[in-house]
């Protein structure tokens, strides 16, 4: 096959903890290979050698958008990049800072923290994931991402191929690792509704999944909520847990289940995620429509 030139890659970070970019920097054994495989044009956290106005083949973007300035940079990155990949739960779902999305109290909370000072450095706004503003080609979830899934995506994209990410929830890997099920032991485990790919790290350590990879593509949140209620968890606690890392995705996809009123984000029309599994919309309606109890007895 023909020699393909090394793809030009940029790494960018917006609001978040920098954990996804740091996960990449933590790959001591592979770092040099990464720099060999692709032509890294920008990685501010690792290098001051940045080229910030050229065309890119792939842009990896971490963090959510919380200032006007970031929004402008994001649009710039989108314009310059063939493929834009959101990495980490903040970029994919808005992150923990989006856990109160839709509650309508952002300004109040902002004032609580910063008072009346008018900031000159940035015009702040409530946290939203990238796909609220620009087309996102792939979402690699995780708080932070897992390096193997990142390498898989990187190698696929470097060869110009599409990427398939884990479609199972955490439970599948949890069984591979032969853990005792914590949900069955009465703990509040979000494994069944959380995207897999982390190798079920928390259940491996006898700890329930807190949902840090955000919702899986076919999360049956209604059933999970019913189950947890049967186990005597309060609705508030369940909803808090679901929203902490599920952020905008949980809020939007499961708003009626979580008892949340959704407000559309200021201005921008919502873009559809490119790699949403086909007809996710249909399944969503199905799971979201009625509780199973309401359902039985009715004719379908």
């Amino acid at each position: 096959m023909a020699e393909i030139p090394k793809p030009k890659v940029g790494f960018y970070g917006f609001t978040g903890c920098a954990g996804d970019l740091l996960t990449i920097l933590h790959c001591e054994d592979e770092l040099l290979d990464i720099f060999n495989a692709v032509d890294i044009r920008s990685f501010l956290m690792a290098s001051s050698d940045v080229h910030d106005d050229e065309e890119l083949d792939i842009a990896f973007v971490e963090g959510s958008i919380t200032t006007d300035h970031q929004l402008e940079s994001l649009k710039g990155i989108r314009k310059r990049s063939k493929v834009l990949v959101a990495i980490g739960s903040c970029a994919c779902f808005g992150g923990p800072q989006a856990a109160r999305l839709g509650c309508g109290d952002w300004e109040k909370r902002f004032k609580k923290v910063y008072g009346e000072v008018k900031h000159t450095v940035a015009e702040p706004r409530e946290s939203h994931p990238l796909d609220e503003y620009v087309k996102v080609d792939y979402c690699i979830p995780g708080c932070p991402i897992d390096k193997h899934q990142f390498f898989f995506a990187l190698t696929r994209l470097a060869k110009g191929m599409p990427v398939e990410l884990t479609t199972f929830p955490v439970c599948a890997e949890c069984k591979w690792n032969e853990n005792e099920c914590l949900l069955l032991k009465g703990e509040l485990c979000l494994g069944p509704v959380t995207a897999g790919g982390c190798n079920s790290r928390c259940p491996n350590h006898n700890l329930p999944c807190v949902g840090c990879w955000g919702p899986t593509s076919e999360a049956n949140v209604a059933s999970e909520i019913n189950l947890l209620k049967e186990r005597n968890f309060s609705a508030e606690e369940i909803v808090n847990k679901l929203r902490l890392f599920g952020g905008a995705a949980m809020v939007r996809r499961f708003a009626d289940l979580l008892g949340i009123k959704t407000e559309e984000p200021a201005g921008k029309p919502r873009q559809k995620k490119a790699r949403k599994p086909v007809a996710a919309g249909k399944a969503k309606k199905k799971t979201a429509s009625k509780s199973p109890k309401a359902k039985s007895g009715k004719k379908r």
């Binding site: 591979w176 853990n179 005792e180 069955l184 076919e218 059933s223 249909k282 199973p292």
Partner: protein, 341 residues
């Protein structure tokens, strides 16, 4: 089949001598459950174990393994973890489970990855008294006549040891002195008594002979949608079932982009993308359809094809599903009984 006896007190000594054949594996506790683990210390073996979290299929088709290493257009087979092993403590249902996998993986187009691991492994069965989740009597998998190299049957302070293969015979010879070849009428009595006791302990008793018909007639039942509303589609039931065998293949490139591996890992028909094909058509988009496939496979298709269900009654799905969808509940529901789902 040859039968011998081994004193219970000699079990550990015998297990120790098995190590000269290969790695010794057996059930050990994990929290309140059990898993098959390497027995470096033979006394760690949990003889009271009923079902392990994962069935022995994990030895022959590991959850994730590499089939090939490739570079450019050359493929090199990988058999890294094929090594002589003794699996001790398989209950009859699990041995039956392996026999079902044998049919799938060894008959038409034998799968070398399965075959090599299987051939390198000695299987030693162990009898058990069922708990309230076992339904092996209904599936007629509560006793074994084959599929093992040795099978230990509890008999008071001794084990009755069935030798099921020539490899089994070799294994006995690793420490022949421990075995007693004289079986008397009393032993037969004890054995029959033990069988009666075992058979009387089954709490789950189903007549599965008519299941294909019942499934056929329930094709359009509301039941499937009702189950689907609860089902978390997490796939755990498939992972733990000894006869579920679906897998996916994916090529994972090294960072050099020039070489990599063709990897195989467990899949489940409960996975949403299980039947998704290029262009976006999904043959089993609805969770209800996927659930139906799972139970068609367990309770209908296999019976039609081989005259027996592909459920071996191990009870793992009963022990695993967080929302209590399992083969027993589904049978009850299909038969119009009250269910807890």
């Amino acid at each position: 089949m040859k039968a011998l006896k081994l004193k219970k007190e000699d079990l550990y000594a015998y297990l120790e001598s098995l190590k000269s054949y290969g790695e010794l594996w057996g059930p050990v506790p994990r929290g309140e459950r059990y898993v098959y683990a390497r027995l470096t210390n033979v006394r760690e073996v949990a003889l009271q174990a009923l079902r392990t979290i994962l069935p022995p299929k994990k030895f022959f088709v590991p959850p994730r393994f590499n089939m090939f290493r490739y570079s450019e257009d050359r493929y090199t087979e990988v058999f890294d973890d094929v090594k002589p092993r003794v699996l001790f403590g398989l209950h009859p249902c699990d041995i039956h489970g392996l026999m079902i996998l044998d049919e799938l993986f060894l008959e038409r187009f034998p799968d070398p990855y399965y075959r090599k691991r299987r051939e390198a492994t000695a299987i030693i069965g162990l009898s058990c008294i069922p708990d309230d989740k076992c339904m092996a009597r209904s599936t007629n998998t509560h006793a074994v006549e084959g599929g093992f190299d040795l099978a230990f049957n509890e008999l008071g302070d001794e084990y009755l040891v069935w030798v099921g293969s020539s490899l089994g015979d070799d294994l006995v010879r690793l420490n022949l002195d421990l075995f007693n070849e004289e079986i008397d009428a009393q032993d037969l009595q004890k054995y029959l008594e033990w069988r009666r006791k075992r058979d009387s302990r089954y709490k789950l008793n189903f007549d599965l002979t008519g299941m294909p018909d019942i499934m056929e007639l329930s094709w359009d039942s509301d039941l499937w949608q009702e189950l689907a509303d609860k089902c978390l589609a997490c796939g755990a039931c498939s992972m733990v079932c000894p006869t579920c065998n679906c897998y996916n293949i994916r090529d994972v490139s090294d960072l050099s982009l020039e070489s990599g591996v063709r990897e195989r890992h467990w899949d489940s028909c409960m996975n949403k993308e299980y039947a998704l094909v290029a262009g976006g058509h999904n043959f089993r988009e609805a969770r209800a359809e996927r659930l139906k496939l799972y139970y068609t496979h367990k309770l209908k298709a296999f019976i039609t094809e081989y005259g027996k269900p592909s459920c071996v009654g191990c009870g793992r799905c009963i022990d695993t599903c967080p929302v209590n969808i399992n083969v027993a509940e589904v049978i009850r529901a299909l038969k119009g009984q009250e269910v807890k789902v």
